[in-house]
Amino acid sequence: MIIEYIAAFFFIGGFFFLAVGVIGLLRLPDVYTRMHAMGKCDTLGAGMVLFGLMLLIFDVTNITKLILILVMIATINPIITHLIAKTAYNRGTPMAEGSFLINDYVASQRRRRRRKLQEVAIEEGDETGQ
């Protein structure tokens, strides 16, 4: 009896997140932000619905199949999200207005070089007595 209520909680949560994904797909401005909504909400939404089904069925073979489906959804969904975003980026799809761009690559390269130089300086500093 109580297990049905728990399963109902998972069903309603899953449907809510799936609905949020679709609303985000309609409302957000460009490709990348839309992929945010789809890629995340579909994973947890489908996962919660499948977990509710597992609680209701309670049979080893079917639970194994549902776990397999859940793992496949959780691995395929981010990969397809990444592929769509990558294709859009390589084709030069513009971002929404007011987007920022942070380039941390060069800065982190410099940080690493400075850290290495400091390590070398500390090792040499012991010899020169600084």
Partner: protein, 171 residues
């Protein structure tokens, strides 16, 4: 095909046991007939796909218990992050003013092993406010939902866990 299995017996055994456990869970009965049929087909699959055995460059399996424990801890944190990510997306999407400030970050990624790189990229996609756009050698391009998430990504706690996990392979 057989030479690879002989060189990496532990990896082949691991794959075989995994397939056998899956077969037992699917069939849900432990007759001797089920067991024999399952063992025959699992060994055929293991021989056919012997290039999929878990091995490093020098054809030796290196897989320790500590790594499994670290992975379990990692996935436990990842589930919490996924739930948080969905709640933040729901809060942003259902807000009538739509408070987003999207943008790209170009970062550096120091992970070497391909399996751990895949884990890292997938968990960036599933975590709050970020999706990966490109990963080449050590260049990582990430699209962020708001500017706060972009700055949080540079000191991301799960990245440190993955670096710890990779350190076991090198030693």
């Amino acid at each position: 095909m057989l030479g690879r299995i002989k060189g990496d017996f532990m990896g082949a055994m691991f794959i075989f046991l995994l397939l056998m456990a899956f077969w037992l869970l699917i069939s849900a009965s432990a007759d001797w007939q089920h067991l024999v049929v399952g063992a025959v087909f699992c060994s055929i699959l293991t021989v056919f796909w012997s290039n999929l055995v878990i091995s490093s460059e020098d054809n030796k399996t290196d897989f320790s218990v500590v790594q499994i424990l670290l992975l379990i801890g990692y996935f436990y944190k990842l589930v919490i992050e996924i739930v948080l990510a969905n709640i933040t997306v729901a809060l942003i999407v259902l807000n009538p003013r739509l408070p987003i400030s999207p943008g790209m970050i170009i970062m550096r990624c120091d992970l070497k092993r391909s399996l751990i790189r895949v884990l890292y990229v997938n968990s960036i996609t599933l975590c709050p406010g970020t999706i990966t756009v490109e990963l080449e050698d050590n260049l990582l391009i990430v699209h962020a939902f708001t500017e706060n998430y972009a700055h949080e990504l540079e000191e991301w706690p799960l990245y440190q866990r993955l670096l710890n996990l990779e350190a076991f392979y090198k030693s």
